[in-house]
Symmetry: D2
């Protein structure tokens, strides 16, 4: 693995490394870790990179790695830069034959995302998009239960994602994370909806198996002086006839990272909350609710998508880093299968990719368009 | 207390009696308990009513009671009939000098509600509307904290009310509760929004102290064959600049009665859930969240509105009936103060009345209008 | 109902009245509400008692009521005095043909309890002991499930009862409740074990259907200057081979009234917590845990002992007062059946009585004996 | 790192590797992974070990590694064999100058533990004992709060550890984990108390800062045919005057791994549950309870022992593997500081060592002695 971005003090780059290293299958072999050369070098040293593979730009990294003998070069590139700087290294990596892992959102615009898809179609390379929350085993269990029809036809999807960390104008108080995420030049045309709304939308579609077909958005900037929305609510209709609501806020003061999904079908409902991720609550219309737990199996009652994404037995809680690591593990298992010339298992193939990235960018576009419109419903366009 | 409706097997009438009797201050002295004379008589016997005061119609009850000497007649009339049959007995009671307690919604139409208000203004009589959920002590604590400004300016209001009991077409399967509540002739122009959405809207306005100024509604009938909406989501804007979402569903299969309110201000947020009503979670932007508990006081830190609406010390859970009884108790304390010629305490005056009833009817009207409109926002009209 | 004790400002007397009145079946007709004549009179007025039936002593009350014509006198006596003053009024009531309700513990000594039993055997009158916690519907559901063998043979019983209200030497600071409860002359030979340990022991035996056969107690006085134990832990063995632990503390600072029971059998376990009483958690060895909820029925899957002790549908929480009222309601239904000359239902007969009272007194004796002994195990003697 | 034990299909060895690899600071360089040569070789290949450093016995591993040049040999040995096979490799590693990490319990007997301590004193090498649960940040927060006196004098310690996985006689049904853990020749003189009771005792002493001085144990074998205790309860007294209870069971059918600690002092109490490890509940005698959350800091209000053991911000849950990794990280930071000739930080030094191991072995001895005794109290001897 070579890494673009993620130098010292960056947040998400460190998370990617923790997730990638956990299972002992991935090694960081090179990096272009910062656009600041000092930081790039110091970060490389801290991470035990050889000086020769501590590059100063992604351009240098990709071209020099591509020039190495096949068995010595990196296998894939991980891109953990701010949103506006995803596309260029991703495209160059693909052009040079490297698979790619990208922190979400996949790109800065929908058009970029479509270009990436075209390139992937052309090259046959792999792209993995780290929509972390889809890596949790009980999210996969929920998806499998819906797909297997145990809830009957899905009627209602409620997804919410309250955070409180932008309750103040922190972008003016030296918070670097806040600064780029609230700057339309670096973050894109939406703040809260781009940053966390896309996660919520992805989760809703991933678990329900349904696609949003129209929406009605109310975007708000609730902290004065901010340049982008920091809060929003969206009414949703899905292609299977279900209705839904998506709520995302970064000014819900006192909330941490409270992503939560509820889905109701004819026979019952599912509830999953990211802050207690090892529990899936299953509510039945005609029977007592059940508590399904990650790491358990109950005599093969849980889906293989769930059980193969656990590392510890029930009661030994796994968390955010393990969910993240599941995405890396499934991606690398798929990559390994390809290298081995065998078919990857269906469970290994279960990681987000370019199609998810395109829908994420489209979600942002459609929400922003709806928010600016007087019409109630905006058709979801891609 | 005389009761209109609430015969054997009726649901809400029995609840009203439990609530009214609990504190030993209210006695049922007469009733017109059913439009079915057999049921009316049998119900009266079961409730130890004298035969002479077991009436067959509300008309008979009100006129005969009015004819009794002042110290022998009932003090007030409680109306627990289906929605369409609220107005006539209420108006007749007021015309005959009786105070009134009405199960919500106050009437069948907004216009009826306004007529009741005019009559109350004219007579000076009292009307109590049993928006039960505002009777919980921790709801009152939440309201007091918002009013006292401890959260700073309120920015966001999320209220949700999922139930699952109408997940099937039960109105065709002999469920009497379902039958009238889904029949526009008996229930009114909205199903879920009239039945539970009004509770949610009342709670949101009661606690936030803010009023809805515009809204955007998506009403759905998710069970085929049903005549009224059984699900809906509403985007809200408030007069203090806050944004909000209201969700109400009666087809969230597996849910019981999961009313929940979250309010966020500049400094923190509040969370209250009806199914664990003795806890108020207070989340702070800069400090650990706190768990405030009914029945506790922490050295006079809780509001008198909370403490005066508890009967038991902390850890001895009070519930739905006690919340309901609080409304009766505050109403009767206000009534008693009036009889005693003294001013009722501010805490006694804290029960829902005709203004709440008017806003409830207006909420239904505005939501239904918005749902039928292509425009995103509908101004909230009364 | 006539009441002994329970004047203004008394705690448990007011609770008894709330519970007794709730269902509209019981009326307070007379009282000897305080040993202080002023308080007795003022309390009687507040409770709308006629002056003629506001008595100054229990002796006066029982003898005068007994002298009334049968259809005018009270039906039963409720005794809510401190522990040392239970026996005399109870015995006199029975001697005069009145049924009795007594706040637990039944008496001051085991011997008194046995005398009450002998008198009941002789007279055929009814005695109801308000072990409130056995009145909760989900406690009854738990008991029924154990009795029906759905957990297999019971192996382990854990019951805990932490409170914090005696964390200071409040008995010296004017707290009347604390004063008599920590005074061996009024409370008996144990403090925490008499006050709350007996509740825990009753709950454990009630639900498990097993009886304690030997125990090993560690009693502690953790607040300096206190006269009785304020904390204790007891190892238990039961007659069905199960092992157990009982923990009770009144100095667990910050706890409210956190009674909790866990029972494990061969096939699974049950967990019930008094502070969220409407939920019974059922944990299975080979299947996901289930959440059973009061007020629900799931197509007749819950025990009639549970469903007949609920007043509201699922999601409308009932609490401590309703549990208390269940004991009164079952007692009065049994009494009514007797008056009607019919057999009471098995569900009506399910209220605590003199046998429970005797075991409660024996529990205190055995725990205190064990605590004073160097031997590990003390055989449970009655 | 070189590893003794932990071949394919072993449970705890895989956990150790996940924890060791997570932070990208530790590499597995050699192993004696199984006593079965086939398994040892296959496991080495799976873990990318060079054949030359895939050893067949710990003896071979330690002697050959010791013969390598200093900069090529492993830095420390991790021992993850069953209990009876801890001592020999540990002692040999120390004798050859290698630091040691040992899965708990440290040894098979107390005497072995003492010998290890003597060897450590003599050599100055480091030993790390993986009492995982002390690695959780909110456990460290709890310990810091107690040490800082914010609860006042500690009066009560309740620790419980229910599991259900030995509810059947699984050791006769081919469950390898169950087989050795219930075999006194491999596990030691206690089953449940050795396996999980030691964790509970360690946690209680670690957080309370107090030491057990006497105890009274009830050990039970609740599954017929089992050779060791599978359940036990222990009354505890501590050197600071606190009373306590420890409960451990492996036949609590339906429980996963529900370790929980409650500690009460004069001013309040703490509650921490391993299955939701990112929350520390702080209950106050005179104020609302607070919810302290891992990953948060609240303006520097949390202890550095907590904050330095988190990797993710609040709301991104960390779990069992991260707690385990904290122990490795603190151990390796201490080791690195030593290699760098600097003083390790106090936070780095906070990992369990030989003293904890000795107390663990003594705990087993004392509990087993008490269980066999008729006397109530057994003085805690080391």
């Amino acid at each position: 693995m070579g890494m673009v971005g993620g130098g010292k003090d960056a947040f998400i780059g460190a998370i990617h490394r923790l997730a990638a290293f956990m299972d002992g299958q991935i090694e960081l072999v090179c990096g272009a870790l910062s656009i600041n050369p000092e930081v790039a070098k110091a970060s490389g040293e801290e991470l035990y990179l050889p000086a020769a593979r501590t590059y100063l730009t992604f351009d240098e990294m990709i071209s020099k790695e591509a020039a190495l003998p096949a068995d010595q070069r990196m296998d894939f590139v991980t891109i953990v830069t701010p949103n506006f700087a995803h596309f260029a290294p991703a495209m160059m990596a693909l052009d040079n034959g490297f698979h790619v892992v990208i922190e979400k959102p996949i790109a800065f615009t929908l058009d970029e995302a479509k270009q990436l898809k075209a390139k992937l179609d052309q090259t046959g390379l792999l792209l993995c998009l780290t929509h972390t929350y889809s890596g949790y085993p009980m999210v996969k269990q929920a998806r499998a239960m819906v797909a297997d029809g145990v809830l009957g036809r899905i009627k209602k999807v409620w997804v919410e994602y309250p955070q409180g960390w932008l309750s103040r104008l922190s972008e003016r108080e030296g918070n670097a994370q806040a600064a780029w995420r609230t700057d339309p030049k670096k973050s894109g045309k939406s703040g809260s909806m781009g940053d966390i709304g896309t996660h919520a939308a992805h989760l809703a579609e991933y678990v329900s198996g349904a696609k949003i077909t129209k929406l009605c958005a109310d975007l708000n900037t609730l902290v004065e002086g901010r340049m982008l929305d920091d809060d929003g609510s969206v009414l949703l209709h899905f292609d299977n006839g279900a209705a839904g609501v998506l709520m995302a806020s970064q000014v819900a003061a006192g909330e941490e990272n409270a992503l939560k999904l509820r889905i109701y079908g004819e026979k019952g409902g599912l509830e999953w909350a990211q802050m207690e991720p090892n529990t899936l609550l299953v509510k039945w219309l005609d029977a007592p609710a059940q508590i399904l737990r990650a790491g358990s199996n109950y005599g093969d009652r849980l889906s293989s998508y769930a059980t193969q994404n656990c590392r510890t037995p029930g009661g030994h809680p796994e968390g955010y880093l393990e969910a993240f690591a599941n995405i890396y593990r499934n991606f690398t298992r798929t990559l390994q299968a390809r290298l081995d010339g065998v078919s990857p298992s269906k469970e290994s193939l279960d990681f987000p990719g370019v199609e998810d990235g395109i829908r994420g960018m489209a979600f942002i576009d459609n929400v922003v368009a709806s928010a600016a419109s007087d019409k109630k419903w905006t058709e979801y366009k891609i």
